[in-house]
């Protein structure tokens, strides 16, 4: 099964179970959780079920295309079910069967793995799902986002698409995956990986201090403007600028541009902004919302 077939199978499966098929957030983010289709929709009482692919950037995981398992950018298949149905684990297992994984022939396990995002003021309880010893999915019952207790509880299912495709195609190197129609993952992405890794680690024709200063400045500008957007009641654009800050922070971190005390301060700043945005979203969308935390 090719990578694109896998996406089609998962989309067909979750669409048939009532999920809206959304598109990726067209911004640089580290995970599908940052997409407003997750971050906003899990807030408040309104039921919402949605599925989408999210290209996810982890500057720190960049390996210049040399590591067979680790990349600057990978793809997550993100499913949000709100409220979380009683049969959610069974549904998930059926989705694997739809992709050609027969649970009776494998060892599939739900092992404790809780999720927490300090920058988003968010955490949840859940598992990593192991397929014959390989982590293929993160399964989380969200408890809080933006410091706000959630009710009802949403379930987030995050499939690691490359991992599952490598399993199905029995390849040991991510760049050997067949993306679709005989084209490999390497053909599609290798050059991008090399260049993005160089950027992430600051290998740019620019002195390191200037590189750091530029990114700090960008961070501060986006941060300041996110505040202006929020004050103008423009919550979605404010979130996007907050996410830009989060990504810039990741680049500052991976390129070794910030020290330890500063690092904590940056995380705190992003978190404070995310918390404000989440509260603003709840106040704007939930009638008579009482803000918490």
């Amino acid at each position: 099964m090719t990578l694109q077939d896998l996406i089609l199978k998962l989309s067909a499966f979750w669409a048939s179970h009532g999920c809206l098929l959304q598109q990726p957030l067209d911004l640089e983010v580290g995970a599908g959780t940052s997409h407003p289709e997750t971050l906003f929709r899990v807030l408040g009482p309104k039921p919402w079920s949605v599925a989408y692919v999210q290209p996810s950037r982890r500057p720190d995981d960049g390996r210049f295309g040399q590591n067979p398992n680790r990349v600057f950018k990978h793809h997550q298949y993100q499913v949000i079910l709100k409220p979380s149905p009683d049969e959610v684990q069974q549904l998930y297992l059926e989705s694997l069967e739809a992709c050609g994984i027969n649970p009776r022939q494998h060892d599939i396990r739900f092992e404790e793995d809780n999720w927490e995002s300090p920058t988003l003021g968010a955490w949840g309880i859940g598992w990593q799902v192991l397929l014959d010893g390989m982590e293929i999915t993160q399964f989380t019952y969200f408890q809080q986002v933006g410091g706000i207790d959630l009710a009802p509880i949403s379930c987030e299912i995050t499939y690691g698409l490359e991992r599952i495709a490598m399993f199905l195609q029995r390849v040991d190197n991510i760049f050997d995956l067949e993306w679709g129609g005989g084209v490999t993952y390497g053909e599609v992405r290798l050059q991008e990986e090399i260049e993005q890794s160089k950027y992430a680690f600051g290998q740019v024709d620019m002195p390191a201090e200037e590189f750091a200063a530029l990114h700090r400045e960008l961070f501060d500008k986006y941060y300041g403007f996110a505040g202006t957007l929020l004050a103008s009641g423009l919550i979605w654009p404010a979130l996007e600028h907050c996410l830009k800050c989060s990504h810039l922070f990741n680049i500052l971190d991976s390129s070794g541009s910030i020290g330890v005390t500063e690092r904590t301060a940056y995380i705190l700043r992003v978190r404070q902004l995310a918390v404000k945005i989440a509260h603003a979203y709840v106040e704007a969308t939930v009638p008579a919302a009482v803000s918490e935390g």
Binding site: P85, H106, D107, D132, Q143, A151, P152, G256
Partner: protein, 751 residues
Amino acid sequence: MDRELLIEIGCEEIPASWLPGLTAQLAAHLDARLAAARLTSDRPAESYSTPRRLTARVAKLAERQADHEELVTGPPVSAAFKPDGAPTPAAEGFAKKYGVEVSALERTNTPKGTYLAYRVRQRGKATVDVLADVMGGLLRDLTFPKQMRWDAYLEDGKGDLVFARPIRWLILLYGGRVVPFVIRRTELAQGPLVQDVRSGPNTYGHRFLTTSGRAGRAIKVKTFDDYESRLLENFVILNRSERESKIRRELETHARKLGGRVSPSTSLRAGPSTSLRAGGVIAEQALLLQEVPDLVEYPSVVAGHFPVEFLRLPEEVLTTTMIHHQHYFPVVDDEGNLKPAFLAVTNTQGEKPEVIARNSERVLTARLRDARFFWDEDRKATLESRIERLSTILFHKKLGSYREKAERVAALAAWIAREAFHKPDAAADAERAGRLSKADLATDMVRELTELQGTMGGIYAREEGQPETVWKAIYHHYLPIGVEAHAPPSRQQLGAAAVTWAAVSLADKLDSVAGMFAAGERPTGSRDPLGLRRQAQGAVKILADLPELTGVTARIELWSLVAQAAKPWDLSAEPQQAARTFIRERVLYLFEQRGFDARNIRAAVPPSLDRVDMVEARKKLEALAQMSGSEALRGVATLFKRVKNITKDVPAQAAVASGALKASLKEPAEMTLLSELESRAPGIRRASERGEYREAFAAIAALQPAVATFFDDVLVMADDEKLRTARLALVATLRDLILDIADISEIVTEA
């Protein structure tokens, strides 16, 4: 008639590490709830668990509650009647509460006077009618390391029902019949896909396996035996110990087929290994074996291989990757060397075990390939060159980065070697090991395999040619942690590095403890997020066994080390007092864990940490344990409290009473005590200085007849001031002689 109670809480996968605790909680809370509900059973509740269920059973539970009779006290009679004899509003209110006339109330005499009272008589209700309350209470009683909300509540007015993971079904059977009980779902969540959980007679088998029909269908049960056997038919082994023995059996069979072995017990029998981590690997395998039965409902083992080229990676990297990251058991040959193979415990009776094996091999190989990449990359830079990077890794927000911590540890380790251990030759290496001790936190390998912190630093130090005294000190410096779980390295493993290891390990731990107390971080109750108890425990443990571990025989006052560690922060009085109390508790706990009598521990560990020397305290305890049969010593001990009381205003005596005082003594009993003291004191002091406490205590015991006769015959508080002073001085001399060794009055106190 007594009938069986069967409860099963069907859950989504509960974290493995919680199950042993939850299983115990379940039985204990159920027993307590049944007792509180006045329901009697023939024996305590049994409890079981798998990742997807918590089960409890009471074989014979009474059909009715015991009848209840209680005398409820009302207002005092003095306030119950007006002067004319008519009841006051207080009396009427009390009577009304129970629906009776004041005249129907009884009177009861209490130490506080006579009160009006009402006798409540309650006929016991049928058990089926109270079990719902028991169930609700039980669900509320269970506590979890981390709890979750899942849009559920109980109709007990207490709101949300938090739990470990969502509850999906519930069996509540009494005498084979369902007792109605419901867990409600909140209005926001409820709908066609989110339903109340109602008690029923149905359980569910293994997620994927079944002998007939489709996996996941409901299985109706009536009794526990029925339940257990139907589960087994459906690939769920309810009994944990049966799961564990199936795992052990299959591990051994597969290991033998691979021409090796896996069982920790077999490895232990193989005798002392030269492997640096032999003890560590065995302990980790044992922990894994403790964990896997709680990860599976129907275990079976598959064997896999990895390419032999990976055997050139350090053994520590291989075993950590297998054990910690994949939950796989390494396989070793007869010499204890790793084979390029592993055993995985799966939760299935796979149709195709070879497929699972191949897939597991691919996962492990990918991880090992990563590890090899780190191993090759990390060795391109020295540890020294990584210290700079440590300034970007935070140790604690008030205590700075790991770079600063490493600098403190280096200075403290050198000081300990030189000043405390009197090993100036080891100071330079201790300092270097301390400086490099945290450098591996900046390596790729440790960022990926955090369990290998310290270990990896040691290996990299060895690879770059640091002497044994340095690299082994780094390698082992996190050990020991806590009391017995992670034992210190053996003398054999430490080799030439024993002294430097002890210096660095102590420096690291004491720096953390002193620093955290200075920063206002303290363990409270069960909360100890920074693991300070284990750190302090590790430190006092090293000190208690210092001669055996390192050959260092210097006498060391415990607080002098902590005080040195605290120097960078200028510990003020309050945190200093807190740190003293905290460390003293760790000392007491260590000795208690070693099985010493609590009274002896109080005797041997002085209240002030300044005077605590761990080795001497340990030797005193060993001597007191040997002397436990000595009636004479107990005799002195019994009188010693009197000795202390009577002399509490008398300052410490420099020597046995001066000539002038001596001249005042005349009674035979006091003359005997004086001469006994004069003749025995030098011997007692010498024995104590040599650490021969058994001899010292024996000599103290030998004073018993003289001391006893003295207190029988002599009035210490004589009217004659000169005589009184002389006698008090004599008693104080005895006091100081003994107190210098131990406060033996403690050994005869009530435990």
